[in-house]
């Protein structure tokens, strides 16, 4: 079983919810932090580190002795990652999507590939939880390949929780695709609702079942509840605004250490998702 936590809007409590779900599991579980631009789950899980693995993508390398500067590679590359300058082609690795097309199209076989690091995956354990974290290298724009690598690193046969990045574009879609269920976390404000609607449209397009958790549920108005009722979207949980939770969060203490009685509610959510996805 694979459950992703996503949001549209940032800062609504995705990591808080993912960590609480992981801690509520009574069997081994794997949490993958796919918010690779700004991974935060380790603050709350405090995993014992086990390993670190570099993640690379293949980027073309031109053999200038063989290259005739014919321009076939740069004409092919839709990402403008290769240009012909003078007597040889030149690569812009930060624009390359690693499709391998230039290498195949080069009539002189002058292109090979070399690995370029985009980030790393950190693995650790925290009790029953295997914690995986993707961490994008600063300056790298290529989050999706790292997210794909982090998802592939999950141990087999264990339920997987995915802490997705905010937004609704490539990194979020790469993180949630293939999930059995998506938990959308929002807040009861105009910004929260606007971004929830975008996230709902996205997961509906992907065809994944989902439910909503309203965080700081008494901090705004009832617009999110009304929207969910109108759209027949299940509200899984409402977490009231609380200075205690906010202060615990600021120190790196998770929701369940501030409000231990919520653990049962998260177990119920997990059971419901399990029985729904088995059907």
């Amino acid at each position: 079983m694979k459950i992703a936590t996503a949001s549209g809007k940032g800062g609504t409590g995705k990591t808080t919810v993912s960590v609480a779900l992981a801690q509520a599991f009574e069997t081994p579980v794997c949490l993958i932090d796919c918010d690779v631009e700004e991974p935060n789950s380790a603050f709350f899980l405090k995993p014992d580190p086990e390993s670190r693995q570099d993640v690379t993508v293949p980027v073309p390398k031109i053999n200038a002795d063989v290259c005739t500067a014919c321009g076939a590679c740069s004409a092919f590359c839709v990402f403008n990652a290769i240009a012909v300058a003078g007597e040889s082609a030149m690569v812009f690795p930060e624009l390359c999507h690693s499709c391998g097309g230039c290498m195949k199209i080069c009539p002189e076989h002058a292109i090979t590939e070399e690995p370029v690091q985009v980030g790393e995956i950190n693995r650790g354990t925290s009790g029953r939880i295997t914690a995986l974290e993707g961490r994008l290298k600063i300056g790298s724009a290529m989050a999706p390949p790292l997210i794909r690598a982090a998802k592939k690193a999950a141990p087999p046969g264990v339920p997987v929780l995915i802490d997705a990045p905010p937004g609704t574009s490539c990194p979020m879609i790469t993180a949630v695709s293939g999930s059995d269920f998506v938990v959308l976390v929002t807040e009861p404000t105009p910004f929260g609702l606007n971004d929830l609607i975008l996230a709902v449209e996205t997961v509906r397009t992907l065809g994944i079942p989902f439910g909503v958790i309203i965080n700081r549920s008494d901090s705004g108005d009832d617009r999110v509840v009304r929207y969910c009722e109108k759209e027949a979207i299940r509200i899984l949980l409402q977490i009231p605004e609380s200075r205690k939770i906010a202060e615990a969060y600021s120190r790196g203490d998770g929701l369940l250490s501030a409000e231990p009685e919520l653990a049962d509610r998260f177990r119920e959510i997990i059971r419901n998702i399990e029985s729904e996805t088995e059907r």
Binding site: G8, K9, G10, G11, T12, T15, V36, E37, E38, N40, F43, F76, V78, F79, H97, S98, C99, G100, G101, K104, I105, L136, I138, G139, S140, A141, M142, A143, P165, P166, G167, T168, S169, C170, P171, M172, I173, S177, T189, P190, F191, N194, D195, L198, E201, T202, T205, L206, S219, G220, D221, R243, A246, E247, Y249, S250, R251, G252
Partner: protein, 289 residues
């Protein structure tokens, strides 16, 4: 014309609330929302759309089933697992397709089309605080970095044409492609953070990015009184990372009430947060002179 981009690293720290207030405080400014994934600034500024443009970017491979021989060459070549073979038929998963064109080029039957992809829309609008350029990324569309670059370019053109003093940009969270597209070559960034471990961590990562691009960075801590010790620690760390520490903004529940009224906090009241943001703006004007 001075360009300021408001970013945060971590999402939800108050970028849009601060940007919306700056829009109200600045004279002769053009506003832009570069958080095209989850744009919210329009909820405060209520733009009246004057121009609407379709945004095409990149391509999308599409198999013509009647000409496909089912040979599977495209499946072999695709590095994005976007070609799905299903009981002898082959199709392309549009959400996984990167639009690289490898399958199109090497299909032995020449059976794959490669149309340009419609990724969203961008708008030129008028607001009560001046012109605004913003966008809506298509649902499950790619290329948000390129749409960000388009919004920023168009806003810059509008600001130059109007002889504006300011271009104020609401940026995206994170450190990846949309942030890079929002900040490269800008005059300065303001990083809005919060006094939490995550806020600190994400701020320091985004400051590495601004240093990488040699962009002057200002920071302000929002909801600073949630954890005063952490606020002091973050300000120290930001100072050591080369950023200029500006005003602290106190936690103020009326920011949400203002948002519900579709107003920035400085228009809504003159409470603690509004006063702090006003001082923050005045300080920024001094520093960016």
């Amino acid at each position: 014309m001075k360009e300021l981009v408001v970013i945060s690293g971590k999402g939800g720290t108050g970028k849009t609330s601060v940007t919306g207030s700056f829009a109200a405080l600045a004279e002769n400014a053009v506003l832009a929302d570069c958080d095209v994934d989850a744009a919210d600034l329009h909820l405060l500024l209520k733009p009246e759309i004057k121009e609407e443009h379709e945004f095409f970017s990149g391509f999308q491979a599409k198999i013509r089933p009647e000409e496909c021989t089912g040979c599977g060459q495209c499946h072999e070549l695709c590095r994005f697992d976007a070609v799905i073979r299903d009981k002898g038929s082959v199709r392309i998963d549009p959400f996984s397709c990167e639009g690289c064109g490898v399958c199109v080029e090497f299909c032995p039957a020449n059976a794959i089309d490669f149309p340009e992809a419609l990724c969203g829309k961008w708008f030129k609008s008028e607001t009560r605080h001046g012109p605004m350029v913003h966008a809506k990324l298509g649902i499950a569309a790619e290329n948000s970095g390129k749409l960000v670059a388009t919004v920023r370019d168009q806003a810059k053109k509008a600001a130059e044409a109007a002889g504006s003093d300011w271009l104020i940009i609401d940026g995206p969270p994170g450190t990846g492609c949309p942030v890079i597209a929002s900040i490269t070559g800008t005059g300065a960034v303001l990083v809005v953070t919060e006094p939490t471990l995550s806020g600190e961590h994400d701020l320091l990562r985004v400051l590495q990015l601004t240093q990488h691009f040699k962009i002057p960075a200002f920071i302000c801590v929002n909801k600073w009184d949630i954890n005063p010790e952490m606020t002091a620690r973050i300000e120290n760390a930001a100072g050591s990372a080369g950023a200029t520490v500006l005003e602290r903004i106190p936690y103020d529940a009326s920011i949400t009430r203002a948002q519900i009224q579709g107003q920035s906090i400085v228009e809504f009241n003159d409470g603690a947060a509004a006063t702090a943001i006003q001082t923050l703006w005045e300080t920024l004007c001094q520093k960016m002179k």
